[in-house]
Amino acid sequence: MWTQIQQALNASTARVITTIANLLPGIAAVFASLLVSVVLAWIIVFLFRRSLRKVNFDEHLAAWGFQSFAEWSPSNSPTLLLTRAVSWIIVLIGLLIGISAFDVTLTSQFVERLFTYLPNVFAALILLMAGSIAARFLSRSVLIGAVNMNLQYARLLSAGVKWLVLVLTWAMALDHLSIGGRIVYIAFAILFGGIVLALSLAVGLGSKELVSRSLEREAKKATEEVENPFRHV
């Protein structure tokens, strides 16, 4: 019986050691890949940061209306945020490459799904950036246009437009990331509709008199224009 136990132990030890031996290259591959990706990330980030600093990325971003981005960036520097994001992405990729070296079905499936998900993440990020820029630009256009049309509630309109665009952008981004699903749709619909309703109420009901006076003035202006002697060009 002792021999049988010995045999069983030998067999199981051999099995485990074989498995470990099989896994060892994989593990080594993970570490090697990780190491390479860290070094690569460091180099790329160094160059990337220098080039961003050279083109004064932070200042341009602020000028384009992206100040909120600066606020939740580390040290208020979108450059740093981007470079850190880039470095983490590179490291992550290295890790994934290493993991897929294990050649185990589970991990490769995971890796596959992750890689198919990544484009959505990039798309969502681009959406957010574009939406933020668009929101700022549009709200300014509306503000100036409304002021030039003598609308007293110009700032309200401008804020409303900005939030409409932002809410839309966020909803689209979340949709891309397949986060929330229907709840996001409903929340978005409520928010969006709510903002529109609030704007209409504020403009219509709340400033009912103002609007009617404004319309009255518009009607008068049509005649006044002819009476006023100013000719600009």
Partner: protein
């Protein structure tokens, strides 16, 4: 697309070659010139009668949007009248850019014809008198000037944008006292219009229409002979309140661009000098008009309260403080000092150059300030006559000239840490 039509078709070129020696080309941009040729021709003939012409005169009238090929409509011994095609004015681009298309075609035809002089009339054709034709063409044909700029007689509340910004600004910058630097009616010598065409083609084309090089600044920079001619009375159209900001943006954009392009030229110029002026200086009888500046002041106040975030990027603290004080004034006391106005215009020119904010937004955001100036001017000039108006505007021009060192220093040191 305007771009495509600025080159002349082969067919047109052939027809033009058949015309023979041409002295003067007169081009019209107003569509109604083409519609009412019967009334137009006698005026032209009368205007030409005083000129010593050696060759024929070609008159070009536009035919908007109609896909009729260019062709003669009238062919007399001394005068031929051509129709030329232009697309209908495109509402999506500024009026100035629509006009620039007309200039280009007329210049090209004139160049093709090798005429001695080219007179372009953009103003509404109702304004046209024989005097206009004569006054515009004669200095080029007989006195060897390269550019004849128009001098209009108008009422004190006409051409407000020109009086408040365009004339004083270009006078201080380029050093020449041209009352209407943006015309729009000019006469050119052939060398000048060839030069302008060259400048035009050298510029990169943008998809949103094409700013034409400003004519008078380009002429001054090229150091050609420039003069003014008193054409006579001109009526100014009413600009719809809603469109005013687009008009302002459309007019100021090429002006500020010109400032940027010609920086190396104008920074050396100090003061300004008058240029030769021809024609009879008549004064228009002013009927007294009542002005209601309430709406203008409303615009100014609304702009002040709502556009702080934009004005704060463009204007330095002292100017913002002055505007705040103006905002608090009672309507009767509302007066914008000339130096303050000149500084504001210069700061906007600087912000345009530095792209502190989107350029279109920048120029449109200037509208409430401009309306404030109009209100201030109107309150001051309500009860005065033409001579006082002239003196008043001269004072404004001098203020611009005195503040030019300020612009130069800001241009060369665009540091935001300034008073």
């Amino acid at each position: 697309m305007i771009a495509e039509l600025t080159s002349i078709s082969e067919q047109t070129k052939q027809r033009l070659q058949q015309i023979g020696a041409v002295d003067l080309v007169i081009g019209f941009a107003d569509q109604r010139a083409g519609e009412d040729i019967a009334n137009l021709l006698p005026k032209i003939h009368q205007g030409l009668s005083g000129l010593a012409l050696k060759g024929r005169t070609v008159v070009l009238v536009p035919n908007y949007g109609v896909a009729v090929g260019d062709g003669e409509v009238v062919n007399e011994e001394s005068l031929a009248l051509f129709q030329y095609s232009l697309p209908a004015p495109d509402p999506s681009i500024s009026a100035a850019q629509n006009i620039s298309g007309a200039y280009r075609v007329i210049w090209r035809i004139s160049e093709e014809l090798n005429a001695r002089a080219c007179a372009v009339f953009i103003s509404a054709v109702e304004n046209l008198t024989p005097q206009w034709i004569f006054q515009l063409a004669q200095p080029v044909l007989e006195r060897n000037f390269d550019l004849v700029a128009p001098y209009y007689l108008h009422r004190k509340f006409d051409a407000m944008l020109n009086s408040s910004i365009l004339y004083p600004l270009t006078r201080a910058i380029y050093g020449k006292r041209v009352q209407n630097p943006l015309g729009p009616d000019f006469a050119f010598s052939t060398p000048l219009l060839q030069h302008l065409l060259r400048l035009d083609s050298a510029k990169p084309r943008s998809s949103a229409g094409h700013d034409m090089t400003l004519i008078e600044p380009a002429a001054v920079v090229a150091k050609v002979k420039v003069c003014q001619s008193i054409l006579g009375e001109r009526t100014y159209p009413v600009v719809d309140g809603k469109d005013l900001s687009s008009v302002i943006a459309g007019i100021l954009a090429p002006v500020f661009l010109a400032l940027e392009r010609d920086a190396a030229f104008w920074q050396h110029i100090r003061g300004s000098e008058p240029i030769p002026i021809f024609g009879e200086d008549l004064t228009i009888k002013e009927e007294s008009v009542d002005v209601d500046v309430r709406r203008l002041l409303e615009s100014f106040r609304l702009g002040f309260s709502s556009l702080q975030e934009i004005w704060g990027v463009v204007l330095p603290p002292t100017i913002l403080l002055e505007l705040r004080k103006l905002d608090r004034l009672a309507p009767e006391q509302f007066r914008i000092p000339d130096e303050l106005w000149a500084r504001i215009v210069y700061e906007f020119a600087m912000a345009y150059r530095l792209r502190s904010i989107a350029r279109d937004h920048l120029l449109r955001a200037m509208t409430p300030l401009y309306l404030g100036w109009v209100a201030s001017y109107a309150l001051e000039m309500e009860a005065v006559g033409a001579v006082t108006v002239q003196q008043r505007l001269e004072k404004l021009c001098v203020a611009y000239e005195n503040m030019k060192p300020y612009l130069v220093s800001r241009w060369r040191s665009p540091d935001r840490f300034n008073p």
